[in-house]
């Protein structure tokens, strides 16, 4: 089972080296090229030049024609367990604005308790000499601020937490 770009693909590797992807069988050959990450895949003769990085736990970062894609390889049992637990937990919506890149906070346009509309500027982060405006993903109320002007932030760092628009 391979998760890729939001889809799941059923992949079997047969004893004769053939690979079955979603029910379609292919002759497959994988070889190392430019170290450390270069790989050549021949799939029924079609040539794909990939870069591959193992991210651990069955996760792989693949690059093809300049596009980077994350893939996760699970055996059938693990995949099933995950599905069940996800269904049990229900969807959890993260109501936070994270730094999309490392940079420097140059301006914070909101305060805790402020109500924001979708598209309102919340923060401005400078990276590579360009200002990047971070906007509110929807109508909400700012519950916590984790950033101040002049502060360096890392990618993925939570900058602002939001609550329901009408929350106290």
């Amino acid at each position: 089972m391979v998760s890729l770009l939001g889809n799941r693909h059923e992949v079997d590797i047969l004893p004769d080296g053939r690979v079955v992807v979603d029910g379609r069988g292919h002759a497959a050959s994988l070889a190392a090229t430019s170290p450390p990450r270069g790989r050549s895949l021949l799939l029924d003769g079609a040539s794909f030049a990939l870069l591959a990085r193992c991210a651990g736990g069955g996760a792989w970062e693949l690059q093809l024609d300049g596009r980077s894609v994350s893939a996760e390889v699970l055996d059938a049992r693990t995949a099933r367990v995950r599905e069940l637990s996800a269904a049990a937990a229900g969807r959890v919506k993260v109501a936070a604005l994270k730094a999309p890149m490392p940079g420097l906070v140059v301006r914070v346009a909101v305060g805790e308790g402020d109500a924001v509309e979708e598209g309102d500027t919340v923060l401005i982060v400078e990276a590579m000499k360009m200002e990047n405006e971070l906007r509110a993903p929807g109508a909400a109320k700012v519950t916590r601020l984790h950033a101040a002007p002049g502060e360096a932030v890392e990618k993925g760092q939570v900058l602002v937490e939001f609550g329901e628009p009408g929350a106290p």
Binding site: L30, A49, V73
Partner: protein, 501 residues
């Protein structure tokens, strides 16, 4: 010709200048900030000296440190590249004051053209058409609001001291003026050390066409035809071409003549670019850049002229090697800017360590890069990693070459603009030459995340095979099933990944 030059820059343009100098037998002196100690421009120069920490203000913009290196390394000239100090008249003056040759126009010219509002006035006087706008820098958000109302929306704010998209804002509504003005002032100040901004009427969907000019101080001024730079994102050019696909021969002649008029109006010496906005057969002076442009290679490809060589020749007092009628225009050239940005993820700046770098080769392809394997891409400097340039007998051949070259280019470890550029090279409006500066906004489909089916299948198969190999390698030292009888074929009988095998 002088015998040595200090290259006051980094990245691909430092490398480009070093190449040009080396071909003329000029000794090259590079400078580097702390994170650039092992950067390609350091490796390719004859000599290299440290000038300070990562922050550009303390290194590449540090005039005192640069002049100290020039003195210590006995450099006779200074080439500023583009960006950083290239359009700072005080730098050109300091270089001259230290008894060195500045490879660029006179400080007075830089000052005149760098002060964008004054330049507009001068060009109007020389009979070059300009876009309506403020004649002097704005002094307050209030003035900005007033000017915007009088010009009529949309309007555009621009840094009086610089170019390259920094400090620019398009404003469509009165209530956005104040915020945009403050942001533009802040960005301009951070980028150019001068927060002055001015306002122009914003032309909707114009084309950005610029003319390369050269003057030599012996009374000669020529143009080297135009470049079309309409494909931009936030006023940063992404794709450039020479010649412009839609200019008629008559328009080409008249724009070239206007550019030479502009050059003569300021007694221009060296390489410069006169930028025009073009719409429906009309063109307006936008600004004049008193330096080499990022996109100069497309002009080199279609004229056969080495612009950096000409810069050195003119700076050393020689006359221009060719007259206007001797400058040919051959075929078509396209440049794609490869930047460290994630085009399918809102163009976020990308960082990383360049682990793989495979550069295209073969006929009609040129790579002007500023990175090597092992280069750490951080957030200190411009995201331009390199420029991919294709040339062919006509635009169609150039586009086919560029497609092929983009497919060959491989940069591992950092996201780049390359896959977006590859899509542009297939997009019907681009292929038909239907371009404008709004091109990217009008083609949101280019930013979709989709991957072709064959690609998905290959990626899924590759992931499964990679993980399978990795597990096999990890399992190899252990004896897994003693009960299984030995067979020469058993070793290749791979278990199914779903655990049933």
């Amino acid at each position: 010709m002088f015998e040595s030059v200090l290259v006051a820059n980094r990245g691909e343009i430092a490398l480009r200048v070093i190449r040009g100098a080396r071909e003329l037998g000029i000794r090259t002196v590079a400078v580097f900030s702390e994170p650039d100690r092992a950067a390609p421009h350091v490796l390719h120069a004859d000599e290299a000296y440290p000038i300070g920490p990562a922050r550009a203000a303390e290194s590449y913009l540090n005039i005192a440190a640069l002049l100290a290196v020039a003195r210590a390394a006995d450099a006779e000239a200074v080439h500023p590249g583009y960006g950083f100090l290239a359009e700072r008249a005080d730098f050109a003056e300091a270089v001259a004051g230290a008894g060195l040759v500045f490879v660029g126009p006179a400080p007075a010219t830089i000052r005149a053209m760098g002060e964008k509002t004054g330049a507009r006035r001068r060009m109007e006087a020389a009979g070059v058409p300009v876009v309506p706008g403020t004649a002097t820098p704005l002094i307050s958000a209030r003035e900005a609001r007033r000017e915007a109302e009088s010009l009529g929306f949309p309007v555009m704010l621009k840094a009086a001291a610089g170019g390259g998209g920094k400090g620019m804002r398009v404003i469509r509504r009165a209530e956005d003026v104040t915020g945009a003005y403050e942001g533009a002032v802040r960005e301009a100040g951070a980028s150019f050390g001068d927060g002055s901004v001015y306002m122009e009427r914003f032309l909707e969907r114009p084309r950005h066409v610029e003319v390369q000019i050269f003057g030599d101080g012996h009374g000669n001024a020529v143009h080297l035809f135009e470049r079309e730079c309409s494909i931009q994102r936030r006023h940063q050019k992404l794709v450039e071409e020479a010649p412009s696909v839609l200019l008629s021969p008559a328009e080409r002649r008249s724009m070239g003549e206007a550019a030479v008029r502009a050059a003569r109006a300021v007694d221009y010496v060296g390489a410069g670019t006169v930028e025009f906005l073009y719409r429906d057969g009309e063109f307006f002076f936008l600004e004049m850049n008193t330096r080499l442009q990022v996109e100069h290679p497309v002009t080199e490809m279609v004229t056969g002229v080495d612009l950096v060589e000409w810069q050195f020749r003119v700076a050393s007092g020689e006359a221009l090697p060719l007259r206007q009628r001797e400058i040919p225009l051959r075929g078509h050239s396209i440049e794609c800017r490869i930047t460290s940005e994630s085009p399918f993820d809102g163009f976020l700046p990308a960082t990383g360590l360049v682990g793989e770098l495979d550069v295209p080769g073969g006929p009609g392809v040129r790579w002007d890069g500023g990175i090597a394997r092992g280069t750490e891409i951080g957030l200190h400097y411009d995201p331009l990693l390199g420029k991919l340039v294709a040339h062919g007998a006509d635009r169609e051949v150039a586009v086919r070459r560029m497609r092929r070259a983009l497919k060959e280019l491989r940069i591992g470890g950092v996201s780049t603009s390359a896959p977006l550029l590859a899509r542009i090279m297939e997009e019907p409006d681009f292929l038909a030459g239907r371009l404008s500066t709004a091109y990217l906004e009008e083609h949101p489909e280019l930013f979709g995340a989709e991957v072709a089916d064959s690609g998905r299948e290959a990626l899924a198969a590759a992931a499964a095979l990679l993980e399978h190999e990795r597990r096999k390698r990890r399992a190899a030292p252990r004896i897994r099933r003693a009960a299984r009888p030995f067979s020469p074929w058993a070793g290749s009988a791979a278990p199914r990944l779903d655990g049933r095998g």
